[in-house]
Structure formats: C-alpha cells, structure tokens
C-alpha cells in the first residue's frame, strides 16, 4: 500500500460494473481523504451515480476493491455501508409523502418491534440536524408532501446526517436549493471537514465544484481520467477532461468522412416550419424563442433535468409551458398554435419518446403491428383495415431502413434495441411528418445501427423534415445536427452552430459557462 493510500479514508480501485451491454463503470478509481471535500464530476452517463450506488451498498460491482480506513471491505447492503459510517443522499428525493418530517428523518432506524430512539431524542436530533441545515423553523409534525421540493431535499440530507457518519455522499443534492439554502449546507459541510470528516459530492454547477471542493475526480465513460487539487484546476481544464480529447478526435474524423449537414441546408434556404415564441419552461427561467426550418436538424443538449426534456414535451403538446407558445407554420405562412398532443399530431409534429419499452413498444405485438398502429387511422374503409397497403408501406420502410427482422410477424420484443427503434421511427416516418421530435433515440443502440440511423435522419432532413434531436451524447449531436441548443436550469443558454463548435464548447455551455467567462479562465 502506498503512502497515498494510507492517507486516504476511502480507496476504491478498478471498479467495473455493467448493465447488460452497457459498461457503466470501467476500472474507475477514487480516493477520498479524511478532512476533505471531494467532488466527483463527469457528463451524463459517465458513471457517477453508479459509483455512488456502489459506495452506498445499493449496487455491487462486477469487479474492483474497496478499502475503508485501511481495511478491505465488501459492501453487501445499504445497511452495511451505513454501519461503516458512509451516509448517502441520493439524486432522487426519496421520501414517504404521507409521513411526517420527523418520521422521514428517522426512516429505517426502527427495528421491527421496537423503536430505535426515544421520542424525545428523536425530536432533539431532528431539530439539531435541521438547524444545522438552516431550517430551524420547520415543524417536525408536518406531513412530507406539504413541503417544498427544496425543503424535501434538505430533509433527505438531514436523514443522512443524523446517523454517525465519517463520509457523507451527496449525489446532486443541491439541485433544488436556492443560493441561501446552498450556502447554509456548504457551511455545514465545511464545519464537518474541520472536524476530520469527509464529503463526496457531485454537482452540475461548476461554480459549486470549484468553490467547495478540495480535490476533484473526473469520470469519463466509466473510467477515472483525472484527480486534481481544486487550486490547480481551471474550468476549461475540468471541462476538457470531461469531454475528452479522444471523443473530440472521433467527431472530427466523422466530420471528414461525412460532411456535416449544415452546408447542404445553406445552399437552399428553407421555410421555417416551427416557431417557439417566448416559451417559459419554469417560473424563474428565461423565455425561449427559436425557429426551426424544414430540413434542419436542431440538437438539444443539457445535463440531466435542465429543461430540455420539458422543452421537447412542450413542442409536441404533451406539456403546457408556464408562458409562451409553440407555433406550427403551414406551407402558405399560416400559423397554428400547438395546444395538445392531438393538435400537434394533426399539424404534422410527431414525437418519438425516450423510453422505448414503456412509451413506445407494444411488447407482445408483432413487428408489423408495432409499425402499422399509426397507419390504421388513414388506411381503413369503414373501420376495416386495408392491410395490403400497410404491408407495402412496411416492406418499403424495412428495406430503406435496413431493418433486421426474421419476419414481420415475429414479436417485436425479440429484435435488438436498434431495430426496435427503427420500427418506432418508421411508425411516424410513414405518416410523413413535418417536424419529427426525437427524445434521445440512439440510447442503447449499437454502433453499426447508430450509423444506419444517422443515415435515416439525414435522409429525412434532405426530404425537408425538420428534426428536433435531443441527445445525452455530445459526439452524437456534433455528428448529426446543424445547430445545438444547450439548456441550463430551464433556460436556453447557448445556440451553437455545430460546424464552429467543439465538444468542450458544448460541455461548457451545459455547465452554464458562457464562452467569455471560459476563455478568461484559460
């Protein structure tokens, strides 16, 4: 064991964990010292949450070692992690809405037949924890559901800190807090550090990372790419590590072999088909105004929960914005307001949802039935199906999209994810959309099928379909889109022309960094 390890409270090495085909963690390493606030940063899907779930005993790693205060350990359950002194606050605010604040704070501490604490001790402990977090006035007997989101989030932090802890893990635990609440929490964390305890936190806010952390570990694609002292780190440096130079090079290679689509659109100016006017997603966020032209591919980017999904839902009428409108523009310049999902569909705005299994697929139905379900509205005579026409339409689509399926009569559940996605896209492509809104369509799709789907999207754009393409993968956006709209805290913070942008630019914007600020830091 090296001296660096001896100085560490927690050493996790060579951690790997896969979910099916996806490698969420690939030999990641993390060292946390006593009296340290340590920040774990990385893009969506870089493995932060998986690592934290392993650390808190929720998930078991496929391989790797964990040394806690000099002793090799196996974490079997959340309880064993708590027993060791690791307290975790998860990203999702895990509460029981009907129970009181006090019961939520002491959740899980009681035995089956006896209480873990006397009532008086519980009240005193809960008051202390809440007052540490700046919530002195909160009534302990209020049911949880009456609290604001920020109060709920702080209550879950209180639940973690009433237990004797030596390492507190906060996974995006500040996302709902306002500046004052955040400062109060940070003061508490600094105090704990001065008492020799350790904190590990993730955040989507770069200013928090740089302002609070002593050291920073950067994860990319499941692997640790750097650990550095906060004093020697710069925004640009961290962002560069997160986006990765390899990924950047990839994007360039793709761009050379297949010219970006931007050029083609500029040759023939197209009509706008969709206009977003002063759309406000959240009460505090800035209104968004965008215009999308026929044949344009607009990418949407943002860290988890920054409003891009809400934006997509507003576009296709699934959600009402706080303020503002989505307008579909007709061929002759007439405008229609999108008010409902039904209305959006009538105006030719078609939506391919994010979660294939729960929002897209009809699992027990055949490939053909999954494809044709949207066609029957047009292809029927007094309610009786015109199957021949639908079969023809399917055959055409299967060929053009290179769909791999033994037979259209087999259940769709046996197709690969990529081929399922083709069928779900085909469902709406066959309806000749004017605007195709796709929510992270290439998630969990293998490399080759991805390339085929890129081709499919490009072909659609060439035919004049406007595509709104939300993705969590920046390389994907840089390969496919003409422009990238970046969301941060419910506002559209940057509109980046793809040709002139690097993935570092996109990542910087995702963290709410405007360009000037970033270059000043370099």
């Amino acid at each position: 064991m090296s001296s660096a390890d001896e100085a560490s409270r927690l050493v996790m090495e060579d951690l790997s964990r896969s979910f099916g085909e996806t490698r969420a963690l690939n030999a990641a390493t993390l060292r946390v010292r006593p009296s340290e606030i340590h920040s774990l940063v990385g893009e969506n899907g870089s493995g932060k949450s998986t690592l934290i779930k392993i650390l808190s005993g929720v998930l078991r790693p496929d391989s790797g070692t964990l040394v806690w205060e000099g002793e090799a350990r196996h974490l079997g359950s959340p309880r064993s992690a708590q027993g060791m002194g690791i307290a975790t606050v998860f990203q999702e605010t895990l509460i029981v809405p009907e129970m009181t604040v006090r019961d939520n704070i002491y959740l899980g501490t009681d035995g089956l037949f006896r209480y873990g604490h006397r009532k008086g001790d519980e009240i005193a402990g809960a008051r202390q924890a809440l007052s540490d977090l700046g919530m002195d006035g909160l009534d302990l007997d209020r049911p949880m559901w009456t609290l604001s989101l920020a109060e709920r989030q702080l209550t879950t932090v209180a639940r973690a800190i009433i237990r004797p802890w030596r390492l507190l893990v906060l996974d995006e635990a500040t996302s709902a807090l306002d500046a004052q609440q955040r400062d109060c929490l940070f003061d508490y964390l600094r105090l704990a550090r001065s008492q020799g305890r350790s904190v590990l936190f993730t955040s989507h806010r770069m200013d928090e990372v740089l302002g609070l952390a002593d050291r920073i570990t950067v994860l990319r694609q499941g692997a640790t790419v750097a650990t550095m002292g906060a004093s020697e780190a710069s925004r640009r440096g961290i962002l560069g590590h997160m986006s990765g130079h390899e990924a950047h090079a990839d994007a360039v290679v793709v761009a050379e072999t297949e010219p970006r689509r931007g050029a083609a659109v500029q040759q023939s100016p197209r009509r706008p088909v969709l206009r977003v006017a002063e759309l406000t997603l959240r009460a505090a966020s800035k209104p968004i105004s965008v215009e999308v032209k026929a044949g344009e591919i607009l990418g949407l980017a943002g860290l988890e929960g920054q409003g891009q999904v809400g934006f997509v839902e507003c576009l296709c009428g699934l959600r009402r914005p706080v303020d503002g409108q989505v307008l579909a523009l007709g061929d002759n310049g007439e405008t229609h307001i999108v008010r409902s999902y039904r209305g959006a569909n009538r105006l030719g705005i078609r939506y391919v949802p994010r979660d294939r299994r729960y929002e897209g697929l009809f699992g027990p139905l055949s490939v053909f039935d999954n494809f044709a379900i949207t066609l029957w509205g047009d292809l029927n005579r007094l309610g009786v199906l015109k199957r021949q026409q639908a079969r023809k339409s399917f055959a055409g689509f299967a060929e053009s999209s290179r769909l791999v399926s033994a037979s259209p009569n087999r259940a769709i559940s046996i197709l690969s994810g990529g081929n399922q996605q083709k069928v779900l896209l085909g469902r709406w492509i066959a309806m000749r959309p004017r605007v195709l809104v796709v929510n992270d369509p290439l998630r969990g799709v293998d490399h080759n099928t991805k390339e085929e789907l890129y081709g499919l999207f490009r072909g659609l754009a060439t035919d004049g379909v406007a595509i709104i393409f939300l993705s969590t993968e920046i390389a994907e956006l840089l390969t496919l889109t003409d422009q990238i709209a970046v969301f941060h805290e419910g506002s559209l913070v940057a509109m980046l022309p793809t040709e002139m942008s690097s993935d570092t630019d996109v990542v910087a914007a995702m963290f709410g960094d405007d360009k000037q600020h970033g270059s000043a830091d370099d």
Binding site: G360, L361, F362, D369, G377, V384, A406, I414
Partner: protein, 348 residues
Amino acid sequence: MTDQSPIAPADGSEPGPAARQPTRSTSEIVTRFVAANFTDALPYILVPVLFILSVIFIPGYFSKLSIISLLILASLLGLASLGQTVTIIAGGIDLSIPAVIGLSDIILTQLYYKHWSLPVIFLLIAVAAIVIGTISAVSSVLLHVHSLITSFGMSLVVSGVALEWSNGAVNGAVPGWLTSSVSAIGHTGPIPIPAIIFVWAVASVLAVAFLRLTRVGRETYALGANPVAARLARVRSTWTLVVAFAISALCAAMVGVFFAGYSGIPDPTVGVPYFFLTITAVLIGGTSLLGGRGGYQRTVMGALIVAELTTLLVGVGFSASFQELALGILVIALTSTYGRELKVAAKI
C-alpha cells in the same frame, strides 16, 4: 381453426434461427419446434382428448343428444366469454357480466309477460347493455381506476336494479321459439340443431374478424399491450375501451335472453356462476390477463374445454365442488405453461 394470428407472440414457428446454425441436429430442431409450439397448441389438443375421455368413461355418451347438450353449454359460456376476451385483451376485465345476464333475463321475462312487443324488448335490452358497458369504460378512463373496479361497481348497481324489479315476481313468459333455441331437441328451421349453436358459430367468426381485421380490433391489442405507448401512438383509448365493454355487455345480454328461454321464469341470479367461468374460459384458452395477447379463437377452445370437463366430471359422478377444484387446477396448470412459453420465446 389455426392460430397463425399476426399478433401471435413469437412462437418460433419459423425454423429460421435454428436453420441458420448448421451444427444443430434435426432432432434438436424438432425438439425446439415442439417446445415452442406445444403450449400454444395445448388447448386445441385438449378439446379432442377430453371428448375421447368422456366417450370412454361415460356409457352412451357418444350420441347426438349429448353432443348437442355439450355444445349448448359451451355456446352459453362461449358467448358470455366473447366480450370478456375483448375487455381482457384491452387490458381490462368485465366483472358486470353476471349482473347484465340477470338484468336481461328479468327484462325479457317480465316485459314479455306484460305482452310488450319483442323487437321493443330486444331494443331495450341492447340499449341498456350499451349504456352499462359505456359507463364502466368511461368511468374507468375518467377516474383513472382499473375497469375491474368500475365494472364491479356497475355490477352491484345492475344486480340491485334486477333484484328490485323482480322482487317477488315468479311469473314470467318467453316466446316458445326462444325455448326451442336452447333445447337439445330444438330445431333451427328444418335443421335438427338448436339455434344457439349457430348464433355462437357466427358470433365467433365475427369476433375473430373484428379483433384481426378492424381498426378498433388492432387498437384493442395496442391499448392492452401498453396504454402509455398507445396514447403516444394516437390510439383512441377511450373509444376502444367503450367498444370493448359495450361488446361485453351486449354478449352478456344475449346470454341472459337465452337463459330466459332455458328456464322460462324470471331469475336475476342466473348469471352468477359466470363471474368466474368467463374468466376461466379466457385463461384456459390462453389469452393473458396482462392484456394485448391472445384472441377469441382461443376462448372458443377454452369454453369447449370447460364444458367438456364439467360434463365429464358430472358423468363420472363427481360433485359440483370437485368440478370447481378441477377447473382451478387446470387454470393454474395451463397458465403456468403459457408463462413459460414467453420465456422460451425470449431465449430464441
């Protein structure tokens, strides 16, 4: 009737994946093929097997009269289970079938006794059925509760009305041709087969065609398979559910009319055994309670199996309680093999 429905789950009926791998022996391919298709074919095998067992064990069973009696029993159950099949495929379940059977029985026997004209009575029964089905479906959609609950509520309301109406009534009347249509010695025109069997045959063909060849039919499968995806794919969820429950109530009403013909006296509780029997027939046939899987051709087999098994057990001298026990075991045994079939499909 074969089961090559376009919605049939992956049944491995094509040797494609196996044939592509030359290392596999012929016997292995055959084994896989049988394993993948056996459970699908099971109801179709059970129908003749049970019939042969009955012929062996019940003396004098192989006669026209007993076969027709069997088919009348199956027709009544088959018709009552028709709508149940549709509601279950749509992801729901209709618990109001016995109540609607009872109400329809009362309306017919009471009003015919009071010399109302038959077309008016039938129209009234049909309207009542459609209203009942629509309320079950629409309230399920509006209140966001499972149709299990709304149809059960409707069932209580409807049977309350039927009981109140028939309170004390012992007098009722039905037309003679109706009685003959459910009698084993009844004729349909010159043909010496009771009309209910033809009605069931025609209804079966229509039901299978409805589910496979119409827009609402396909949307019924989509809704049952995944209601969230159905909404996003612009399936008319409310309309589809209304159609399913209206069909269910209409079928139940039809069975109520036949029951009135059977006994000739008003009986609001005549449908009570159908509370579980319809679900049993649907499940034994192989339509899944999960929704989106199955078809009416399967329920036809399910109704035949239930009728045969009941007849066989009665014929051999088992009690009514033992019949229920046997049906219960059959439901569990068969549905567990259907579950396994899905896992086999997932492996291929």
